[in-house]
């Protein structure tokens, strides 16, 4: 039995300790906001926060995060009011939307560390893939939060 703290709630799950956090979230806990895109830390669709830092859940064995504070897209806010979520709506960022939970988690972590990120900071921190090509709007949305 493994105990996890996700979005400030404790969860007990019966899984092999090497199971990636992504599949525990999706298959065991039905938290499907976190997406699967590659499974090898290339795309960022599975980005969550581990102790406030952006991390790729597809390559994070669940045994590594038993003592950590995990936040998923479901926990970014209870009502979609997190500044990143509001900016995403205002800039109409998503197209298909599949990469966007990961994008938003990466952006939220960046803004916590650097409330006024430069373009270079954004280039360095947002390494998620968006096949629909929403990058210009992701950038604009992040800057709009920094300004407020």
């Amino acid at each position: 039995m493994i105990t996890l703290t996700i979005n400030e709630q404790k969860h007990e799950v019966e899984v092999d300790p090497s199971t990636p956090l992504l599949w525990v979230l999706r298959d065991k806990l039905a938290m499907t906001g976190t997406k699967f895109g590659c499974g090898i830390a290339q795309c960022g669709a599975c980005t969550v926060h581990i102790n406030g830092m952006a991390a790729r859940a597809c390559v994070t064995p669940v045994s590594m995060v038993t003592d950590a504070k995990i936040t998923t897209i479901e926990g970014l806010s209870t009502d979609g009011s997190h500044p990143v979520q509001a900016a995403w709506v205002a800039h109409e960022v998503p197209q298909c939307g599949y990469c966007q939970p990961g994008m938003m988690m990466a952006a939220a972590a960046l803004l916590t560390q650097k409330p006024n990120p430069t373009d270079a900071d954004i280039d360095a921190a947002i390494t998620n893939i968006c096949r629909c090509g929403t990058y210009p709007r992701v950038r604009a949305a992040i800057h709009s939060i920094a300004k407020t």
Binding site: G97, R131, P136
Partner: protein, 443 residues
């Protein structure tokens, strides 16, 4: 664990060099399929004061949408239910009915949001019958999720193709003939072989059969070369390779004529007012010919398709290792009526990323009959750091309805390659750029 011994099938001996040689043999075939012809191209070329030639190539490409292919099936005695991201509900229904051996009246499809489709989830939905068969055998609902590797290795790829051009000019540098041979794999050979029984696939020659550039003697023909690799509709389809071929060669023609590439296009598009207006809008918004930071150059291209007109100006520089940095893309689009301007802009922005990923990195190669690439590390995408500033100019002429999902992509690649040529003096005629670019030792 059970040791797996793969049978690689009848094409297990085929490697990429074989595929390339086979496709390129279509460039010199003496029995090409007919495309379109005006005037007498052979006689005009024989009379030309100057003749230029060039050969271009475009690789297989995978769709690689962010959400790998998947489907969920629940088969019970009186109902087959499917949950799947699909671009084609009818095809989903038919495939599920066939797999379950029931009438379509006994099938219910629940289409769910698709994490990107780009043509991959159009008609070739083989993960749907997979889920149905598994559900039948296991007697319970089954969700099938392909790995990224399965997704990239079992795609219906953008066709591989090559183009060979010849253009002739008179003594005053006016173009008098333009001959085009396209070689490559017909999409119909995979998605609708019945249509091919008529012998050809004219859709493969788009951009040439409807070439708007006025040159008195023109011809396009087709050396069809269908490989064993399945091909399909990939966002912007045949315009993706033919737009690149044509607009790069138009730049070569402009150079041969001693003209600015924008002005040369203007001259040959005098009778194509929509293309002309759209290109003028892009050139104006970009400031064609403006003074740029040292090392940055502009390239231009225009391609109409899917009922719309798009022209792009790309501003790029080339690093010492030969790789480009794209600074800015200005795209003008005339899609007739505009319903939601923000959607048109978003689609045109996204098309820039789509085209750049392919131009810079995209290539699917074949080894032992199968696809070599498998994930985003060996089939990479443009990410934030490589994404240029994109400015979209809407120039609707409000007298037709055109598409906006596809047409933004085709002009981007040739505009970039044309800008790179100005920076390096070397034409790239083989994609992806990462493979054909060369370190700039000379400067």
């Amino acid at each position: 664990m059970l040791p797996i011994e793969w049978d690689r099938g009848p094409n297990g001996h085929v490697n990429h060099a074989d595929v390339l040689a086979f496709v390129k043999s279509g460039l010199t075939a003496t029995d090409p399929l007919e495309g379109a012809s005006e005037g007498d191209v052979v006689a005009a070329i024989a009379k030309g004061a100057k003749v230029i030639e060039a050969e271009y190539h475009a690789p297989f490409l995978s769709h690689a949408p962010m959400e790998p292919q998947n489907a969920t099936a629940r088969v019970s005695a009186d109902l087959v239910e499917i949950w799947a991201p699909t671009q084609n509900i009818e095809a989903t229904l038919n495939l599920a009915a066939k797999a379950a051996g029931v009438d379509i009246g006994k099938v219910k499809v629940h289409p769910v949001m698709a994490g990107g489709g780009f043509g991959r989830r159009g008609g070739q939905l083989e993960y749907v019958p997979q889920a149905v068969e598994l559900s039948m055998r296991m007697g319970k609902p089954v969700q099938v999720i392909w790995s990224r590797e399965e997704d990239i290795r079992h795609d219906y790829y953008r066709p591989i193709s090559s183009a060979k051009f010849k253009a002739a000019f008179d003594a005053q540098n006016n173009p008098i003939a333009w001959d085009t041979r396209i070689a490559g794999q017909s999409i119909m050979s995979t998605v609708n072989p019945e249509a091919l029984k008529k012998g050809t696939d004219l859709g493969f020659l788009v951009c040439f059969t409807d070439n708007p550039y006025d040159v008195p003697n023109r011809r396009v023909d087709f050396g069809m070369r269908n490989t064993h690799v399945p091909v399909g509709y990939w966002r912007s389809v045949n315009h993706s390779q033919n737009g690149y071929f044509r607009e790069c060669f138009v730049d070569e023609m402009a150079e041969a004529a001693g003209m600015d590439p924008y002005q040369f296009r203007r001259k040959l598009l005098a009778n194509s007012p929509k293309q002309l207006a759209c290109m003028d809008a892009a050139a104006k918004a970009a400031g064609w010919g403006r003074s740029l930071p040292q090392g940055v150059f502009q390239g231009i291209a225009q391609v109409d398709g899917y009922g719309s007109y798009v022209a792009s100006v790309v501003e790029a520089s080339v690093r010492p290792d030969g790789h480009p940095k794209v600074h800015r893309v200005v795209a003008a689009i005339d899609c007739g009526h505009v319903v939601n301007p923000d959607t048109v802009k978003a689609q045109t922005e996204g098309a820039v990323a789509w085209a750049l990923s392919a131009a810079l990195y995209g290539e699917i190669t074949i080894k032992n009959g199968g696809v070599e690439q498998g994930n985003y590390h060996d089939y990479p995408m443009v990410k934030m750091a490589e994404m240029p500033v994109v400015e979209v100019v809407l120039v609707p002429s409000y007298d037709f309805w055109g598409g906006v999902g596809e047409p933004g992509a085709p002009p981007v690649t040739p505009a970039l390659l044309n800008a790179m040529y100005k920076a390096t003096g070397r034409r790239i005629r083989n994609l992806p750029i990462v493979k054909d670019s060369q370190p700039r030792s000379a400067d």
